[in-house]
Protein backbone atom coordinates (compact mmCIF):
# COMPACT_ATOMS: atom_id res chain seq x y z
CA UNK A 1 0.00 0.00 0.00
CA UNK A 2 1.35 3.37 -0.99
CA UNK A 3 1.36 6.47 1.20
CA UNK A 4 -1.10 8.42 -0.96
CA UNK A 5 -3.76 5.85 -0.11
CA UNK A 6 -7.19 7.56 -0.27
CA UNK A 7 -8.52 5.10 2.29
CA UNK A 8 -7.23 7.34 5.12
CA UNK A 9 -9.41 10.24 4.07
CA UNK A 10 -12.52 8.13 3.54
CA UNK A 11 -14.88 8.71 6.48
CA UNK A 12 -16.32 5.16 6.85
CA UNK A 13 -14.22 2.97 9.06
CA UNK A 14 -13.39 -0.58 8.00
CA UNK A 15 -12.52 -1.80 11.49
CA UNK A 16 -15.28 -4.39 11.60
CA UNK A 17 -14.29 -5.84 8.22
CA UNK A 18 -11.29 -7.85 7.09
CA UNK A 19 -9.90 -4.79 5.31
CA UNK A 20 -6.78 -4.46 7.49
CA UNK A 21 -5.74 -8.04 6.69
CA UNK A 22 -6.59 -7.57 3.01
CA UNK A 23 -4.62 -4.34 3.02
CA UNK A 24 -1.63 -6.17 4.44
CA UNK A 25 -1.88 -8.96 1.90
CA UNK A 26 -2.08 -6.47 -0.95
CA UNK A 27 1.17 -4.68 -0.06
CA UNK A 28 2.53 -2.89 -3.13
CA UNK A 29 -0.80 -2.97 -4.95
CA UNK A 30 -2.99 0.11 -5.09
CA UNK A 31 -6.27 -1.12 -3.65
CA UNK A 32 -9.17 0.96 -2.39
CA UNK A 33 -11.88 -0.41 -0.10
CA UNK A 34 -15.59 0.21 -0.36
CA UNK A 35 -18.32 -0.88 1.98
CA UNK A 36 -20.75 -3.18 0.21
CA UNK A 37 -24.19 -4.19 1.46
CA UNK A 38 -22.92 -7.59 2.62
CA UNK A 39 -19.25 -7.93 1.74
CA UNK A 40 -16.20 -5.73 1.56
CA UNK A 41 -15.48 -4.50 -1.96
CA UNK A 42 -11.85 -3.93 -3.01
CA UNK A 43 -11.03 -1.97 -6.15
CA UNK A 44 -7.78 -2.93 -7.89
CA UNK A 45 -6.52 -1.51 -11.23
CA UNK A 46 -6.59 -4.02 -14.12
CA UNK A 47 -2.83 -4.32 -14.54
CA UNK A 48 -2.43 -5.35 -10.91
CA UNK A 49 -5.55 -7.46 -10.43
CA UNK A 50 -3.91 -10.83 -11.12
CA UNK A 51 -1.17 -10.10 -8.60
CA UNK A 52 -3.84 -8.98 -6.14
CA UNK A 53 -5.97 -12.10 -6.59
CA UNK A 54 -2.92 -14.35 -6.26
CA UNK A 55 -1.94 -12.56 -3.05
CA UNK A 56 -5.46 -12.97 -1.63
CA UNK A 57 -5.42 -16.67 -2.53
CA UNK A 58 -1.97 -17.33 -1.04
CA UNK A 59 -2.24 -15.24 2.14
CA UNK A 60 -2.55 -17.56 5.11
CA UNK A 61 -4.97 -15.55 7.24
CA UNK A 62 -7.22 -14.84 4.23
CA UNK A 63 -6.95 -18.03 2.15
CA UNK A 64 -9.54 -17.17 -0.51
CA UNK A 65 -9.61 -20.62 -2.07
CA UNK A 66 -13.12 -20.50 -3.53
CA UNK A 67 -14.18 -18.39 -6.52
CA UNK A 68 -17.92 -17.96 -6.07
CA UNK A 69 -18.64 -16.01 -9.18
CA UNK A 70 -16.92 -14.00 -11.86
CA UNK A 71 -18.80 -11.58 -14.04
CA UNK A 72 -18.78 -8.09 -15.50
CA UNK A 73 -20.96 -4.99 -15.42
CA UNK A 74 -21.13 -2.62 -18.37
CA UNK A 75 -21.07 0.96 -17.09
CA UNK A 76 -21.27 2.41 -20.61
CA UNK A 77 -18.96 5.48 -20.73
CA UNK A 78 -17.15 4.57 -17.51
CA UNK A 79 -15.90 1.28 -18.91
CA UNK A 80 -16.63 -2.28 -17.86
CA UNK A 81 -16.18 -3.61 -14.33
CA UNK A 82 -14.95 -7.16 -13.91
CA UNK A 83 -16.24 -8.48 -10.59
CA UNK A 84 -14.79 -11.41 -8.63
CA UNK A 85 -16.68 -12.83 -5.65
CA UNK A 86 -14.25 -14.70 -3.42
CA UNK A 87 -14.84 -16.90 -0.41
CA UNK A 88 -12.63 -18.74 2.01
CA UNK A 89 -13.83 -22.22 2.92
CA UNK A 90 -11.50 -22.36 5.92
CA UNK A 91 -12.06 -18.90 7.43
CA UNK A 92 -15.59 -18.39 6.07
CA UNK A 93 -15.27 -14.80 4.94
CA UNK A 94 -16.07 -13.05 1.69
CA UNK A 95 -14.57 -10.31 -0.39
CA UNK A 96 -15.56 -8.77 -3.69
CA UNK A 97 -12.75 -7.67 -6.00
CA UNK A 98 -13.56 -5.17 -8.72
CA UNK A 99 -11.44 -3.88 -11.54
CA UNK A 100 -12.54 -1.25 -14.03
CA UNK A 101 -11.45 -1.69 -17.65
CA UNK A 102 -11.51 1.36 -19.90
CA UNK A 103 -13.48 1.04 -23.12
CA UNK A 104 -10.32 1.42 -25.27
CA UNK A 105 -8.55 -1.50 -23.65
CA UNK A 106 -10.85 -4.33 -22.63
CA UNK A 107 -8.17 -6.77 -21.58
CA UNK A 108 -7.29 -8.28 -18.24
CA UNK A 109 -5.11 -11.20 -17.19
CA UNK A 110 -6.85 -14.51 -16.69
CA UNK A 111 -7.51 -15.80 -13.19
CA UNK A 112 -7.43 -19.45 -14.30
CA UNK A 113 -3.93 -19.73 -12.85
CA UNK A 114 -5.38 -18.90 -9.43
CA UNK A 115 -8.64 -20.90 -9.53
CA UNK A 116 -9.57 -23.44 -12.19
CA UNK A 117 -13.17 -22.34 -11.58
CA UNK A 118 -12.43 -19.15 -13.50
CA UNK A 119 -12.15 -21.02 -16.79
CA UNK A 120 -15.78 -21.23 -17.89
CA UNK A 121 -16.80 -18.08 -16.05
CA UNK A 122 -14.22 -16.08 -17.99
CA UNK A 123 -15.27 -17.67 -21.26
CA UNK A 124 -18.83 -16.57 -20.57
CA UNK A 125 -17.80 -13.07 -19.52
CA UNK A 126 -15.58 -12.72 -22.58
CA UNK A 127 -18.27 -13.59 -25.10
CA UNK A 128 -20.97 -11.54 -23.36
CA UNK A 129 -18.95 -8.34 -22.90
CA UNK A 130 -16.13 -8.56 -25.43
CA UNK A 131 -13.43 -8.64 -22.78
CA UNK A 132 -10.20 -10.44 -23.64
CA UNK A 133 -8.66 -12.50 -20.85
CA UNK A 134 -4.92 -12.67 -21.56
CA UNK A 135 -3.36 -16.15 -21.50
CA UNK A 136 -6.69 -17.90 -21.13
CA UNK A 137 -6.08 -21.62 -21.77
CA UNK A 138 -9.29 -22.22 -23.72
CA UNK A 139 -10.60 -19.00 -25.30
CA UNK A 140 -13.61 -20.45 -27.11
CA UNK A 141 -17.19 -19.28 -26.69
CA UNK A 142 -19.21 -21.02 -24.00
CA UNK A 143 -22.92 -20.27 -24.37
CA UNK A 144 -22.93 -18.41 -27.69
CA UNK A 145 -22.44 -20.05 -31.11
CA UNK A 146 -18.81 -20.66 -32.04
CA UNK A 147 -18.81 -18.15 -34.90
CA UNK A 148 -20.49 -15.34 -32.98
CA UNK A 149 -17.46 -13.50 -31.70
CA UNK A 150 -18.25 -10.01 -32.95
CA UNK A 151 -21.40 -9.17 -31.02
CA UNK A 152 -21.71 -8.91 -27.25
CA UNK A 153 -25.25 -9.40 -25.94
CA UNK A 154 -24.87 -8.18 -22.36
CA UNK A 155 -23.41 -4.82 -23.35
CA UNK A 156 -25.82 -1.99 -22.78
CA UNK A 157 -25.66 -0.87 -26.42
CA UNK A 158 -26.81 -4.26 -27.65
CA UNK A 159 -30.55 -4.07 -28.35
CA UNK A 160 -33.00 -6.56 -26.94
CA UNK A 161 -34.86 -7.55 -30.08
CA UNK A 162 -36.04 -10.51 -32.05
CA UNK A 163 -33.60 -12.37 -34.23
CA UNK A 164 -35.14 -11.05 -37.49
CA UNK A 165 -34.53 -7.46 -36.33
CA UNK A 166 -30.97 -8.23 -35.28
CA UNK A 167 -30.20 -9.80 -38.66
CA UNK A 168 -31.40 -6.63 -40.36
CA UNK A 169 -29.27 -4.43 -38.14
CA UNK A 170 -26.05 -6.11 -39.14
CA UNK A 171 -25.28 -7.27 -35.62
CA UNK A 172 -23.38 -10.28 -36.91
CA UNK A 173 -26.34 -12.64 -36.68
CA UNK A 174 -26.45 -14.79 -39.78
CA UNK A 175 -29.62 -15.82 -41.57
CA UNK A 176 -31.03 -19.21 -40.70
CA UNK A 177 -29.37 -22.01 -42.64
CA UNK A 178 -26.31 -20.08 -43.77
Amino acid sequence: MTTDEPQTEAPPSFDDTIWSTVDGALAGISATPERGVLDLIVHIPPDEVLRGLTALRRHEALDFDYLRSLTAVDNEDEGIDVVYHLYSTTHRHNVTVKTTLSNDDLTVDTATTVWRAANWLERETAEMFGIRFNNHPDPRTLLMPEDMTDTFPLRKDHPLAEIEVLQGEGMGYTEEGQ
Binding site: L38, R68, T71, V73, D74, T89, W115, R116, L142, M144
Partner: protein
Protein backbone atom coordinates in the same frame (compact mmCIF):
# COMPACT_ATOMS: atom_id res chain seq x y z
CA UNK B 1 2.98 -67.05 -25.44
CA UNK B 2 2.25 -63.46 -26.26
CA UNK B 3 2.75 -61.07 -23.36
CA UNK B 4 0.46 -58.05 -23.11
CA UNK B 5 3.44 -55.86 -23.78
CA UNK B 6 4.17 -57.57 -27.07
CA UNK B 7 0.56 -57.14 -28.03
CA UNK B 8 0.82 -53.45 -27.46
CA UNK B 9 3.60 -53.23 -29.98
CA UNK B 10 1.89 -55.42 -32.50
CA UNK B 11 -1.40 -53.52 -32.72
CA UNK B 12 -1.42 -49.82 -33.30
CA UNK B 13 -4.49 -48.59 -31.42
CA UNK B 14 -6.20 -45.45 -32.49
CA UNK B 15 -8.23 -43.06 -30.37
CA UNK B 16 -11.88 -42.94 -31.21
CA UNK B 17 -13.99 -39.84 -30.89
CA UNK B 18 -17.61 -40.27 -29.86
CA UNK B 19 -20.17 -37.51 -29.96
CA UNK B 20 -22.79 -37.73 -27.23
CA UNK B 21 -25.75 -35.41 -27.35
CA UNK B 22 -27.13 -32.77 -27.56
CA UNK B 23 -30.19 -34.98 -28.01
CA UNK B 24 -29.39 -37.89 -25.75
CA UNK B 25 -31.70 -39.25 -23.06
CA UNK B 26 -29.05 -39.48 -20.37
CA UNK B 27 -27.76 -35.92 -20.67
CA UNK B 28 -30.79 -34.56 -18.76
CA UNK B 29 -31.45 -31.87 -21.31
CA UNK B 30 -29.56 -30.54 -24.27
CA UNK B 31 -25.95 -31.10 -23.35
CA UNK B 32 -23.26 -32.35 -25.68
CA UNK B 33 -19.93 -33.89 -24.91
CA UNK B 34 -17.28 -35.20 -27.25
CA UNK B 35 -15.50 -38.17 -25.74
CA UNK B 36 -12.10 -39.35 -26.93
CA UNK B 37 -11.77 -42.99 -26.01
CA UNK B 38 -8.95 -45.47 -26.16
CA UNK B 39 -10.59 -48.86 -26.11
CA UNK B 40 -12.95 -48.64 -23.17
CA UNK B 41 -11.15 -45.85 -21.35
CA UNK B 42 -12.01 -42.19 -21.68
CA UNK B 43 -8.97 -40.08 -22.56
CA UNK B 44 -10.57 -36.67 -23.05
CA UNK B 45 -13.93 -34.97 -22.65
CA UNK B 46 -14.98 -31.73 -24.28
CA UNK B 47 -18.35 -30.50 -22.97
CA UNK B 48 -20.50 -28.10 -24.98
CA UNK B 49 -23.24 -26.10 -23.30
CA UNK B 50 -25.37 -23.17 -24.38
CA UNK B 51 -28.11 -24.86 -26.42
CA UNK B 52 -30.74 -23.43 -24.07
CA UNK B 53 -29.29 -19.95 -23.69
CA UNK B 54 -32.23 -17.55 -23.62
CA UNK B 55 -30.57 -14.47 -22.17
CA UNK B 56 -32.47 -14.50 -18.88
CA UNK B 57 -30.01 -11.99 -17.41
CA UNK B 58 -30.55 -9.53 -20.24
CA UNK B 59 -34.31 -9.98 -20.09
CA UNK B 60 -34.36 -9.24 -16.36
CA UNK B 61 -32.67 -5.90 -17.04
CA UNK B 62 -35.69 -4.84 -19.05
CA UNK B 63 -38.45 -5.65 -16.57
CA UNK B 64 -39.27 -4.45 -13.09
CA UNK B 65 -38.42 -6.37 -9.95
CA UNK B 66 -41.67 -8.27 -9.60
CA UNK B 67 -41.70 -9.34 -13.24
CA UNK B 68 -38.26 -10.88 -12.88
CA UNK B 69 -39.48 -13.48 -10.37
CA UNK B 70 -41.00 -15.60 -13.12
CA UNK B 71 -37.68 -15.79 -14.91
CA UNK B 72 -36.04 -17.37 -11.88
CA UNK B 73 -38.52 -20.26 -12.13
CA UNK B 74 -37.52 -20.75 -15.71
CA UNK B 75 -33.81 -20.96 -14.99
CA UNK B 76 -34.03 -23.54 -12.23
CA UNK B 77 -37.16 -25.51 -12.97
CA UNK B 78 -36.56 -28.30 -10.46
CA UNK B 79 -35.96 -26.05 -7.46
CA UNK B 80 -38.07 -23.03 -8.30
CA UNK B 81 -38.64 -21.86 -4.75
CA UNK B 82 -34.92 -21.89 -3.99
CA UNK B 83 -34.24 -19.86 -7.11
CA UNK B 84 -36.98 -17.35 -6.36
CA UNK B 85 -35.69 -17.04 -2.81
CA UNK B 86 -32.24 -15.81 -3.89
CA UNK B 87 -33.82 -13.24 -6.16
CA UNK B 88 -36.35 -11.82 -3.72
CA UNK B 89 -33.73 -11.77 -0.96
CA UNK B 90 -31.43 -9.72 -3.18
CA UNK B 91 -34.20 -7.20 -3.87
CA UNK B 92 -35.12 -7.08 -0.17
CA UNK B 93 -31.51 -6.47 0.78
CA UNK B 94 -31.24 -3.48 -1.55
CA UNK B 95 -34.63 -2.12 -0.48
CA UNK B 96 -33.71 -2.79 3.15
CA UNK B 97 -37.12 -4.15 4.16
CA UNK B 98 -37.95 -6.68 6.84
CA UNK B 99 -39.96 -9.76 6.03
CA UNK B 100 -42.69 -10.90 8.48
CA UNK B 101 -41.86 -14.00 10.48
CA UNK B 102 -44.68 -16.12 9.11
CA UNK B 103 -43.59 -15.46 5.54
CA UNK B 104 -40.03 -16.53 6.38
CA UNK B 105 -41.16 -19.81 7.94
CA UNK B 106 -43.40 -20.61 4.99
CA UNK B 107 -40.51 -19.83 2.65
CA UNK B 108 -38.31 -22.24 4.58
CA UNK B 109 -40.92 -24.99 4.47
CA UNK B 110 -41.44 -24.59 0.75
CA UNK B 111 -37.72 -24.42 -0.01
CA UNK B 112 -37.01 -27.59 1.94
CA UNK B 113 -39.93 -29.41 0.37
CA UNK B 114 -38.61 -28.29 -2.98
CA UNK B 115 -35.21 -29.71 -2.06
CA UNK B 116 -36.89 -33.02 -1.24
CA UNK B 117 -38.75 -33.12 -4.55
CA UNK B 118 -35.61 -32.16 -6.46
CA UNK B 119 -33.58 -34.89 -4.75
CA UNK B 120 -36.30 -37.45 -5.50
CA UNK B 121 -36.13 -36.38 -9.11
CA UNK B 122 -32.40 -37.05 -8.91
CA UNK B 123 -32.72 -40.50 -7.37
CA UNK B 124 -35.17 -41.48 -10.10
CA UNK B 125 -33.20 -40.07 -12.99
CA UNK B 126 -29.90 -41.35 -11.62
CA UNK B 127 -31.30 -44.84 -11.26
CA UNK B 128 -32.13 -44.68 -14.95
CA UNK B 129 -28.58 -43.59 -15.77
CA UNK B 130 -27.14 -46.50 -13.84
CA UNK B 131 -29.46 -48.93 -15.54
CA UNK B 132 -32.16 -49.79 -13.01
CA UNK B 133 -34.91 -48.31 -15.10
CA UNK B 134 -38.41 -48.82 -13.87
CA UNK B 135 -39.12 -49.40 -10.23
CA UNK B 136 -36.81 -46.82 -8.65
CA UNK B 137 -37.81 -44.26 -11.24
CA UNK B 138 -41.54 -44.61 -10.70
CA UNK B 139 -41.21 -44.76 -6.92
CA UNK B 140 -39.20 -41.53 -6.92
CA UNK B 141 -41.59 -39.79 -9.24
CA UNK B 142 -44.59 -40.71 -7.12
CA UNK B 143 -42.93 -38.85 -4.23
CA UNK B 144 -42.09 -35.89 -6.40
CA UNK B 145 -45.66 -35.75 -7.64
CA UNK B 146 -46.99 -35.68 -4.08
CA UNK B 147 -44.89 -32.61 -3.29
CA UNK B 148 -45.85 -31.06 -6.59
CA UNK B 149 -49.53 -31.48 -5.76
CA UNK B 150 -49.05 -29.52 -2.54
CA UNK B 151 -47.25 -26.74 -4.42
CA UNK B 152 -50.02 -26.64 -6.97
CA UNK B 153 -52.63 -26.25 -4.25
CA UNK B 154 -50.76 -23.28 -2.80
CA UNK B 155 -49.52 -21.48 -5.88
CA UNK B 156 -51.93 -22.58 -8.58
CA UNK B 157 -49.21 -23.86 -10.87
CA UNK B 158 -47.46 -27.18 -11.16
CA UNK B 159 -43.98 -25.89 -12.01
CA UNK B 160 -43.74 -22.13 -12.53
CA UNK B 161 -44.82 -20.95 -9.09
CA UNK B 162 -43.81 -17.26 -8.95
CA UNK B 163 -45.09 -17.28 -5.38
CA UNK B 164 -42.42 -15.40 -3.43
CA UNK B 165 -42.48 -11.61 -3.52
CA UNK B 166 -39.99 -9.06 -2.30
CA UNK B 167 -41.23 -8.54 1.27
CA UNK B 168 -43.00 -11.84 1.71
CA UNK B 169 -45.39 -14.03 -0.22
CA UNK B 170 -47.92 -13.41 -2.95
CA UNK B 171 -50.88 -14.69 -0.96
CA UNK B 172 -51.73 -16.71 2.12
CA UNK B 173 -51.31 -20.49 2.00
CA UNK B 174 -54.36 -22.74 1.98
CA UNK B 175 -56.27 -23.28 5.25
CA UNK B 176 -55.30 -26.93 5.53
CA UNK B 177 -51.62 -26.19 4.84
CA UNK B 178 -50.24 -27.60 8.10
CA UNK B 179 -52.24 -30.80 7.84
CA UNK B 180 -51.24 -31.23 4.20
CA UNK B 181 -47.55 -30.74 4.98
CA UNK B 182 -47.77 -33.44 7.67
CA UNK B 183 -49.39 -35.74 5.12
CA UNK B 184 -46.68 -35.04 2.57
CA UNK B 185 -43.94 -35.62 5.15
CA UNK B 186 -45.39 -39.01 6.05
CA UNK B 187 -45.21 -39.98 2.38
CA UNK B 188 -41.64 -38.67 2.12
CA UNK B 189 -40.48 -40.75 5.07
CA UNK B 190 -41.81 -43.87 3.36
CA UNK B 191 -40.26 -42.67 0.10
CA UNK B 192 -36.77 -42.52 1.59
CA UNK B 193 -37.15 -46.05 2.96
CA UNK B 194 -38.24 -47.23 -0.50
CA UNK B 195 -35.29 -45.61 -2.21
CA UNK B 196 -32.89 -47.05 0.36
CA UNK B 197 -34.25 -50.48 -0.33
CA UNK B 198 -34.29 -50.11 -4.09
CA UNK B 199 -30.97 -48.37 -4.66
CA UNK B 200 -28.83 -47.44 -1.65
CA UNK B 201 -28.45 -51.02 -0.43
CA UNK B 202 -28.80 -52.63 -3.83
CA UNK B 203 -25.69 -54.71 -4.40
CA UNK B 204 -25.55 -54.19 -8.15
CA UNK B 205 -26.09 -50.46 -7.78
CA UNK B 206 -23.33 -50.19 -5.19
CA UNK B 207 -20.90 -52.22 -7.30
CA UNK B 208 -21.64 -50.01 -10.28
CA UNK B 209 -21.18 -46.65 -8.51
CA UNK B 210 -18.55 -47.12 -5.78
CA UNK B 211 -15.12 -45.73 -6.59
CA UNK B 212 -16.27 -44.16 -9.86
CA UNK B 213 -15.70 -40.52 -10.75
CA UNK B 214 -13.49 -39.56 -7.85
CA UNK B 215 -12.64 -35.95 -7.10
CA UNK B 216 -10.74 -34.73 -4.03
CA UNK B 217 -12.05 -31.99 -1.80
CA UNK B 218 -9.19 -29.70 -2.75
CA UNK B 219 -9.88 -30.07 -6.46
CA UNK B 220 -13.63 -29.66 -5.94
CA UNK B 221 -13.08 -26.34 -4.17
CA UNK B 222 -10.69 -25.20 -6.86
CA UNK B 223 -13.26 -25.96 -9.57
CA UNK B 224 -15.86 -23.94 -7.66
CA UNK B 225 -18.14 -26.91 -7.04
CA UNK B 226 -20.89 -26.54 -4.49
CA UNK B 227 -23.81 -28.39 -2.95
CA UNK B 228 -23.95 -32.16 -2.49
CA UNK B 229 -21.33 -32.68 -5.22
CA UNK B 230 -18.81 -30.73 -3.12
CA UNK B 231 -19.84 -32.17 0.23
CA UNK B 232 -19.49 -35.72 -1.11
CA UNK B 233 -15.76 -34.98 -1.26
CA UNK B 234 -15.78 -34.23 2.46
CA UNK B 235 -15.82 -30.43 2.30
CA UNK B 236 -18.06 -29.02 5.01
CA UNK B 237 -19.61 -26.14 3.12
CA UNK B 238 -23.34 -25.65 3.40
CA UNK B 239 -24.45 -22.04 3.11
CA UNK B 240 -27.37 -22.78 5.43
CA UNK B 241 -24.80 -23.41 8.17
CA UNK B 242 -21.87 -21.26 7.03
CA UNK B 243 -23.83 -18.05 6.41
CA UNK B 244 -27.33 -18.70 7.78
CA UNK B 245 -30.20 -16.95 6.05
CA UNK B 246 -33.96 -17.14 6.81
CA UNK B 247 -34.10 -18.90 10.23
CA UNK B 248 -31.68 -21.76 9.56
CA UNK B 249 -29.65 -20.73 12.60
CA UNK B 250 -32.63 -21.54 14.86
CA UNK B 251 -33.15 -24.99 13.41
CA UNK B 252 -31.40 -28.18 14.41
CA UNK B 253 -30.15 -30.19 11.43
CA UNK B 254 -27.01 -31.97 10.27
CA UNK B 255 -24.99 -31.52 7.12
CA UNK B 256 -24.10 -34.98 5.81
CA UNK B 257 -20.59 -35.30 4.42
CA UNK B 258 -19.11 -37.90 2.10
CA UNK B 259 -15.77 -39.61 2.59
CA UNK B 260 -14.77 -40.93 -0.79
CA UNK B 261 -15.87 -38.24 -3.24
CA UNK B 262 -17.21 -40.82 -5.68
CA UNK B 263 -20.51 -41.25 -7.47
CA UNK B 264 -21.97 -43.44 -4.72
CA UNK B 265 -21.24 -40.83 -2.05
CA UNK B 266 -22.94 -38.15 -4.10
CA UNK B 267 -26.01 -40.34 -4.32
CA UNK B 268 -26.14 -41.38 -0.66
CA UNK B 269 -25.58 -37.81 0.45
CA UNK B 270 -28.66 -36.62 -1.38
CA UNK B 271 -30.77 -39.37 0.14
CA UNK B 272 -29.49 -38.33 3.55
CA UNK B 273 -30.30 -34.70 2.74
CA UNK B 274 -33.90 -35.68 2.12
CA UNK B 275 -34.00 -37.00 5.70
CA UNK B 276 -32.50 -33.78 7.03
CA UNK B 277 -34.95 -31.67 5.04
CA UNK B 278 -37.83 -33.64 6.54
CA UNK B 279 -36.39 -32.80 9.97
CA UNK B 280 -36.19 -29.11 9.08
CA UNK B 281 -39.77 -28.97 7.80
CA UNK B 282 -41.03 -30.69 10.95
CA UNK B 283 -39.43 -28.02 13.12
CA UNK B 284 -40.61 -25.17 10.89
CA UNK B 285 -44.21 -26.38 10.99
CA UNK B 286 -44.12 -26.34 14.79
CA UNK B 287 -43.04 -22.72 14.87
CA UNK B 288 -45.46 -21.48 12.26
CA UNK B 289 -47.72 -18.83 13.84
CA UNK B 290 -50.55 -16.82 12.32
CA UNK B 291 -49.55 -13.35 11.22
CA UNK B 292 -49.04 -11.12 8.23
CA UNK B 293 -47.26 -12.42 5.14
CA UNK B 294 -46.35 -9.02 3.69
CA UNK B 295 -44.97 -5.89 5.35
CA UNK B 296 -47.68 -3.37 6.14
CA UNK B 297 -46.61 -0.75 3.68
CA UNK B 298 -45.24 -2.05 0.43
CA UNK B 299 -44.92 0.41 -2.45
CA UNK B 300 -46.84 -0.37 -5.60
CA UNK B 301 -43.66 0.02 -7.62
CA UNK B 302 -40.38 -1.14 -6.09
CA UNK B 303 -37.56 1.37 -6.56
CA UNK B 304 -34.16 0.41 -5.22
CA UNK B 305 -31.42 2.84 -4.22
CA UNK B 306 -28.13 2.53 -6.13
CA UNK B 307 -26.00 -0.27 -4.83
CA UNK B 308 -25.05 -3.87 -5.39
CA UNK B 309 -25.42 -7.11 -3.52
CA UNK B 310 -24.42 -10.73 -4.04
CA UNK B 311 -26.92 -13.06 -2.36
CA UNK B 312 -26.16 -16.76 -2.16
CA UNK B 313 -28.41 -19.51 -0.92
CA UNK B 314 -28.09 -23.26 -0.75
CA UNK B 315 -30.23 -24.69 -3.53
CA UNK B 316 -30.50 -28.48 -4.01
CA UNK B 317 -27.74 -28.41 -6.61
CA UNK B 318 -25.47 -26.02 -4.77
CA UNK B 319 -24.91 -22.32 -4.46
CA UNK B 320 -27.53 -20.33 -6.32
CA UNK B 321 -26.29 -16.76 -6.30
CA UNK B 322 -27.84 -13.54 -7.49
CA UNK B 323 -25.57 -10.57 -8.14
CA UNK B 324 -27.85 -7.57 -8.40
CA UNK B 325 -26.55 -4.15 -9.39
CA UNK B 326 -28.90 -1.22 -9.14
CA UNK B 327 -28.43 2.34 -10.32
CA UNK B 328 -31.77 3.46 -8.95
CA UNK B 329 -35.09 2.96 -10.67
CA UNK B 330 -37.48 0.06 -10.79
CA UNK B 331 -35.41 -2.50 -12.65
CA UNK B 332 -32.00 -4.12 -12.20
CA UNK B 333 -29.07 -2.48 -13.95
CA UNK B 334 -27.36 -5.83 -14.11
CA UNK B 335 -28.50 -9.18 -12.84
CA UNK B 336 -26.09 -12.09 -12.80
CA UNK B 337 -27.27 -15.56 -11.94
CA UNK B 338 -24.54 -17.68 -10.41
CA UNK B 339 -25.37 -21.16 -11.57
CA UNK B 340 -24.32 -24.04 -9.37
CA UNK B 341 -24.46 -26.54 -12.22
CA UNK B 342 -22.18 -24.50 -14.49
CA UNK B 343 -19.40 -24.60 -11.92
CA UNK B 344 -20.07 -28.24 -11.08
CA UNK B 345 -19.95 -29.18 -14.76
CA UNK B 346 -16.47 -27.72 -15.11
CA UNK B 347 -15.17 -30.58 -13.01
CA UNK B 348 -16.73 -33.17 -15.34
CA UNK B 349 -13.54 -33.61 -17.33
CA UNK B 350 -11.52 -34.08 -14.16
CA UNK B 351 -13.91 -36.76 -12.92
CA UNK B 352 -14.40 -38.62 -16.21
CA UNK B 353 -10.92 -38.88 -17.72
CA UNK B 354 -9.45 -42.28 -16.94
CA UNK B 355 -12.85 -43.88 -16.28
CA UNK B 356 -14.60 -46.41 -18.49
CA UNK B 357 -16.80 -44.97 -21.19
CA UNK B 358 -19.83 -46.70 -19.67
CA UNK B 359 -19.26 -44.73 -16.48
CA UNK B 360 -19.18 -41.35 -18.21
CA UNK B 361 -22.97 -41.28 -18.11
CA UNK B 362 -23.26 -41.99 -14.40
CA UNK B 363 -20.57 -39.43 -13.53
CA UNK B 364 -22.55 -36.84 -15.47
CA UNK B 365 -25.75 -38.00 -13.79
CA UNK B 366 -24.20 -37.76 -10.33
CA UNK B 367 -23.65 -34.01 -10.74
CA UNK B 368 -27.42 -33.68 -11.14
CA UNK B 369 -27.37 -31.01 -13.81
CA UNK B 370 -30.23 -28.81 -14.91
CA UNK B 371 -29.27 -27.45 -18.30
CA UNK B 372 -31.75 -24.59 -18.08
CA UNK B 373 -29.78 -23.31 -15.11
CA UNK B 374 -26.41 -23.79 -16.80
CA UNK B 375 -27.40 -21.88 -19.93
CA UNK B 376 -29.82 -19.36 -18.39
Amino acid sequence: MVTPRALEHEFETQDLMINMGPQHPSTHGVFRMVLTIDGEVVRDVVPYVGYMHRGAEKLCETMDYRQGIGYMDRTEYLANFNAELSYVMAVEKLLDIDVPERAQWIRMILCELNRISSHFMFTGAFGTDVGVFGTAFTYSFIQREIVQDLFEEITGDRLMYAYFRPGGLAWEVTDNFVARVHEVLADMRQGVIDIDGLLTHNEIFVARTKGVGYISGQDAIDYGMSGPALRASGVDLDIRKAEPYLYYDQIDFDVPLGEHGDVYDRFVLRVEEIRQSIRIVEQCIERLQPGPIQPERMPRMLRTPPGEVYIRTEAPRGEYGIYLVSKGGNRPYRLKIRSACLSNLQALKHMTVGQYVADAVIVLGSIDIVLCEVDR
